[in-house]
């Protein structure tokens, strides 16, 4: 299906099923409520076929350009049906799992993910491994029955809801750095996994620490070959900075529009509003171009760090503006709408931290795009 036709028929379907798709709560809702809402939207969109476009046939997809699935993510976000941070997880993990997993594993695992029947989580960061991903130490030892995994992950989003984890493990020596990393596909109900949620300053428990104590993972759950974990991570990170960001652009546009509609006359300064609108539109224009490059089959790489820097700047600017224009809501409001502005404002503080910090993105740009040589 062509994008224009897809857009038209999807928009019609979303209009027609507006009531059924709408969330049952006001404002942000609790994390449980938002996860249930996400699962409902995914199920309805999958059963009606929309969520299968732009994905390969081997995982139950209907084919077509990746722009189709990008438009679906934009449309459900612009209508405020889902939250981009929750929705984008399969968009980020799915493509790389399809590339690296054995075909029958992705054929089995992807459809329930895309239908919202399952949630996956991404086990990358560790207490000692933030920006320096290649230093990770969560150990996997090959034995006859399978990998034996022992170690700890942190910042693992939605792990308490997850049925599977895409896990980076250390299979070589620590000195082997990025060469000794292997990616595993782990069932979260395996014995030996303990989850401890972390409450963040916006009052959410979206992140967790995940502990692995001699967890058995079958060998056929290796993503790619032993030692290909770094390649897997490098394949995945551009999705984190492309598909996921395109949806964030739709969300930022929506929330800036909400702010313009709801702020009292005089609460918004014309110059500040003009500049922040330009920031949001520039980020969106950049992300749009990235979506088109991806659809044209171009390999995405370090240049997506520019998209991430633009997002972080725009996201913080939008919610700084909101905090200034809606001080009563953000500071003392206790109704659901105020709660939402407040938690989004607080969450936006992390925009320069999550998915590769602002500093790391600038390091990548300097090293890889400006070719300034190694730092040391």
């Amino acid at each position: 299906m062509e994008l224009d036709a897809f857009r038209k028929s999807l928009d019609d379907w979303l209009d027609e099923h507006g009531e059924e798709l709408a969330p049952a709560y006001d404002g942000a809702g609790t994390l449980d409520e938002r996860m249930a809402q996400l699962a409902k939207v995914r199920r309805l969109a999958f059963d009606a076929g929309w969520a299968r476009w732009g994905r390969p046939g081997v995982v139950g997809g209907l084919g077509g350009s990746t722009l189709l699935r990008a438009y679906l993510s934009e449309a459900v976000t612009a209508r405020d049906l889902v939250e981009p941070g929750l929705y984008s997880m399969p968009e980020v993990l799915g493509p790389s799992v399809i590339t690296f997993a054995r075909p029958d594993l992705s054929a089995e695992m992807l459809p329930p993910l895309l239908r919202g029947d399952e949630v996956w989580c991404q086990g990358f960061s560790e207490p000692g491994t933030g920006s320096n991903l290649a230093s990770l130490t969560c150990r996997a030892v090959r034995t006859d029955p399978g990998w034996r995994v022992t170690g700890q992950k942190v910042w693992t989003s939605l792990s308490q809801y997850a049925t599977r984890c895409v896990l980076l493990t250390r299979t070589g020596s620590i000195e082997s750095a990025h060469k000794g990393i292997t990616a595993l596909f782990v069932d979260m109900d395996s014995p030996g996994i303990t989850i401890r949620p972390i409450e963040t300053m916006d009052g959410e428990k979206e992140f967790s620490e995940v502990f692995f104590d001699d967890v058995l993972v079958p060998l056929d759950r290796t993503l790619g070959d032993e030692g290909q974990g770094w390649a897997f991570a490098m394949d995945l990170l551009p999705y984190e900075r492309s598909t996921a960001l395109w949806q964030r652009a739709a969300w930022l546009h929506r929330r800036l529009g909400d702010l313009v509609e709801t702020a009292e006359p005089g609460a918004l300064d014309a110059s500040a509003l003009g500049e922040i609108t330009q920031l949001v539109y520039a980020f969106r224009a950049r992300s749009r171009a990235t979506q088109h490059r991806m659809a044209a089959g171009e390999e995405l790489g370090a240049e997506t760090s520019i998209d991430k820097v633009l997002l972080a700047t725009a996201e913080q600017a939008v919610f700084d503006l909101a905090a200034e224009a809606l001080p009563a809501e953000v500071v003392i409001g206790d109704d659901p709408r105020s709660d939402r502005w407040r938690s989004e404002f607080l969450y936006s503080r992390a925009a320069t931290i999550y998915g590769g910090s602002a500093e790391i993105q600038r390091n990548i740009i300097a090293r890889r795009l400006l070719d300034l040589g190694a730092e040391r």
Partner: protein, 314 residues
């Protein structure tokens, strides 16, 4: 234009802009068919030429030609709005036409000048003998642009009908946006080369994160402008072009600031090329709407309609 044709066209433009400026560049552009290309594929012709012109720090009458063509008066030179403004340079008071605007380097080269004035809700154009206009050559911060200030009352203007001012200005803003991006990219190249060459504390200063992050920040600002320009070509709405020019100009200011700092002492001298770009982008930013005004006007428009500008569909 596509593929090989586009690449060939770009190469000949690059040759022209790296070897010529002013009237000689105009002649070279005529020779390689830029006008025809502009009719056939405005986006490619405008974006390529102006980016290269900005990168080479050269001048041509292409902006004039673009505006004159868009306003339907190819044979005239168009008077630009006053510095910082994007509203029409003419003002009607009864039958008298007052003018406050800027002519580019090709101003004196044409016998007739087109002056656009706001008339109620639309715009009308007047043809005036160029030599009859009260004019003063501008030296200013970038004398190599050879601008002309035109201020005073117009005598003997002939009304030639209504024109679509905002669309013409939008096209000019896109051209200037590309010129700003081209100049910014060149500033970044100059600063990058210096950062790799300059040794302090026993190593190239490019090793220091403070330097790297300034240059990374510059690239981000430039790419934001370029992405906005691409979206504005697709969008075709005047508001999109104004936004794109503002983002490109803000990017040029960021580029000038960071690159000047990285180039440090040598970049502060006239012995290095940087100062020419710093000067140029300051003037380009103020042609057809300064960033401050474009940004504030955008905010006002949004507040008035309580609605954000239209989005370019995916």
């Amino acid at each position: 234009m596509e593929g090989d044709d586009l690449a060939l066209f770009e190469r000949s433009l690059e040759h022209a802009t790296s070897n010529h400026t002013g009237a000689a560049l105009d002649a070279a552009l005529d020779g390689l068919g830029w006008q025809e290309a502009r009719s056939a594929d405005p986006r490619a012709a405008v974006s390529l030429l102006f980016a290269l012109q900005g990168a080479a720090n050269v001048t041509s009458s292409a902006l004039d030609q673009l505006l004159a063509h868009a306003l339907g008066h190819d044979q005239s030179v168009v008077l630009l709005p006053a510095i910082g403004q994007w509203s029409a340079p003419g003002a009607l008071a009864g039958s008298r036409l007052q003018v406050h605007g800027v002519g580019t380097s090709s101003f004196g080269a044409r016998d007739t000048c087109l002056i656009v004035a706001r008339a109620r809700e639309s715009h009308v154009a007047f043809e005036v003998e160029t030599a009859s206009l009260p004019q003063r050559r501008i030296e200013g911060i970038d004398s190599s642009l050879s601008l002309v200030a035109v201020t005073g009352e117009v005598v003997g203007g002939r009304e030639v009908g209504p024109v679509d001012w905002r669309s013409a200005i939008a096209l000019g803003q896109l051209a200037l946006g590309h010129e700003l991006v081209g100049a910014s990219r060149r500033m970044l190249e100059l600063a990058r080369a210096h950062a790799l060459d300059r040794i302090q504390f026993g190593q190239p200063i490019a090793k220091f994160q403070a330097i790297r992050h300034r240059l990374a920040e510059t690239l981000v600002a430039i790419e934001a402008g370029d992405a906005m320009l691409e979206a504005a070509w697709l969008d075709q709405a005047p508001q999109a072009a104004a936004m794109a020019k503002a983002v490109a100009a803000r990017g040029a200011r960021i580029a000038a600031r960071h690159c000047q700092q990285v180039l440090a002492g040598i970049g502060f001298t006239t012995e290095h090329a940087l100062h020419r770009y710093v000067r140029r982008v300051l003037v380009l930013e103020q042609l057809l709407g300064g960033t401050r005004d474009l940004t504030r006007d955008l905010g006002r428009e949004i507040l008035e309609h309580r609605q954000l500008p239209a989005l370019v569909p995916l």
